[in-house]
Structure formats: C-alpha cells, structure tokens
C-alpha cells in the first residue's frame, strides 16, 4: 500500500508544475529562462508518469520517465548550443528580437 497522500495529490503537484512552466515559457523573454521553464514542464510530466506507474504497479511509467530524461538532456544540449551560437554572433538574447526567419 502507499503510505501518505494518495496519487491525486502528486498529480495536483504535477499539474501545477506544468502550468508554472507554461507561464514561464509564455511570459519570459530570455531564452535561457524559457529553456528552464521547459524543464519544469517536462518534470511535471515525469512526476505524473511516475505517480501513475506507482498507482498501477506497472513499470512502463518509470521507463517512460527515464526516456523523457534522456530526451530532455538532448533538448538542453541543442538549446544551449543555439544560445551559445547566438551569443557568438552578437545577437540579442531576446526571443522577441530574434525575428530574422520571419517571412
């Protein structure tokens, strides 16, 4: 049996984390903080996966969470590479001013 709070409380925390990440992605202009907010969203999803895995007594959720971690590491690698490339080209680190690809 699961001691302490039931799975629904963990899911509430996961939903709040996801909403916090959405807010950060929408309102912040620094691409570094946008990446950090993406990490918060991914971790909210991970918490929900692991909570459901424990609830069902099934390991697929934990496998999925580990895969999400690997994908998040890949995303951080490419995102930080982009930010370093922007910095080397002396472009502004502001997602509103990066509009060169606009048609």
């Amino acid at each position: 049996m699961l001691l302490g709070p039931s799975i629904a409380w963990y899911l509430g925390i996961a939903a709040f984390l996801f909403a916090t990440g959405v807010f950060g992605v929408l309102v912040r202009r620094n691409p570094l903080i946008v990446l950090l907010s993406l990490e918060i969203m991914l971790n909210g999803g991970n918490l929900a996966l692991i909570a459901f895995s424990r609830h069902a007594g099934n390991g697929a959720g934990q496998i999925f969470a580990l895969t999400v971690m690997a994908v998040a590491a890949a995303e951080v690698c490419v995102g930080l590479g982009l930010i370093v490339a922007l910095h080397r080209r002396r472009l502004a680190l502001d997602v509103d001013e990066l509009s060169e690809l606009r048609g």
Binding site: L2, L3, G4, P5, S6, A8, Y10, G12, I13, A15, F16, L17, F18, A19, T20, G21, F23, G24, L26, V27, R28, R29, N30, L32, I33, L35, L36, E39, I40, N43, L47, I50, S53, R54, H55, G57, G59, A60, Q62, I63, A65, L66, T67, M69, A70, V71, A72, A74, E75, C77, V78, L80, G81, L82, V84, A85, R88, R89, L93, D96
Partner: protein, 190 residues
C-alpha cells in the same frame, strides 16, 4: 497498526515539505530576474522532485534525476549562463501588460483543465494504489525491464542522444567557421 500510522505521518510530513519546496522553487524559476538564480532554483526544484520520486518508490529514477539533471544538465546550464554573462531582465518587462495577463490566464486554464480531466476520468479510482513488491523501482528491476520489454525504446534513446551530440558539435563548429571567415575573407576566397 501504530507503526503504520506513525510511518504514514512521517511520509505526510516529508511529502508536504518536498511538495511545498517543489512548487515554491518552480515559481522562483519563472520569477527571478537573474537567470543564474533561476538555474539555482531549478536545482532545488529537481532535488525536491527526487524526494517525491522516492516517496513513490521509484528509487532508480530518483537517483538518475539527481545525477543526470541536478548533476550534468544543470552544470551545463550554469556554465552557459556564466558564459553569456549577467543579463538581468525584469520578469514582466514583456511590453504590454495584457501579455502577462494572458499568460496567467492560459497557465491557469491549463491547470484547471488538467485537474478537471483527471477528476473526470480517474477521480474515484485514485484513492487506493496497487500493492507492489520490494523490488519495484530498484536498478535491477528497471534494467530487466529496459532490456526485455522496452529494448526498442532503449536503443532509440541512444540514437536520440547521438543525434543531439552531433547537433551540438555542428552548432559550435559552424559558428566558429563563420567567425573565422569574417576575420580572414581573403583566405577563404583564395
């Protein structure tokens, strides 16, 4: 019975502390002006999430969270934050204030939507969880699952990581070549 209830009280205390730290550090990440402090707050967020994973008897995922996220990924974040230099940005500078208001509304709508969807689809069935054995979440158990039932996901993950590493190298080398070409155009032409 007494031992079970005492254990339950301890789990509740740990859960409240970890959950509060998790929510507070998540809010701190999106509201600090200095990206360096945001990255440090995200380390606290990841550590409190690792505690929550432990409470859900996901020991290996918790250890991987601390090692991979709080160890490797956050070191990369802090390095890049220090590399691009201090750059303070007021969190609500973003032009018209209706954008911040709309962001608050969108985030609140998503939160309410998730809660309502969970409550409608699974509300009555979340009270008691399955009984799991002592090996649930241990490294040996995870490894056996990864190499038997989920072998394809394991292999595809390695390909994704390889592609990301190649992408990082290409992003770095491309900008270096562009910078070299800007400094010595005649060498590139000859």
């Amino acid at each position: 019975m007494l031992a079970i209830s005492a254990g339950g009280v301890i789990v509740w205390i740990v859960w409240v502390a970890a959950g509060f730290a998790c929510l507070a550090s998540g809010l701190a990440v999106v509201s600090f002006t200095n990206p360096f402090f945001s990255a440090l707050a995200l380390i606290g967020n990841l550590a409190s999430l690792a505690v929550l994973y432990l409470l859900l008897s996901a020991e290996f995922v918790s250890a991987a969270q601390v090692l991979v996220y709080a160890g490797a990924v956050m070191v990369m974040f802090l390095f890049v934050t220090a590399y691009v230099g201090p750059r303070r940005e007021p969190p609500w500078r973003s032009g018209p204030s209706w954008q911040a208001l709309a962001a608050v509304l969108a985030a609140g709508a998503i939160f309410v939507e998730i809660i309502v969807a969970i409550g409608l689809k699974a509300g009555g069935r979340l009270q008691e969880s399955a009984h799991v054995g002592g090996d649930f979440g241990t490294p040996a158990w995870i490894g056996r699952l990864f190499l038997t039932d989920h072998l394809l996901a394991f292999e595809i993950t390695s390909i994704v990581l390889l592609v990301a590493a190649v992408g990082g190298v290409i992003l770095g080398s491309h900008t270096r070549r562009a910078g070299a070409g800007r400094h010595e155009p005649e060498g590139a032409a000859g």
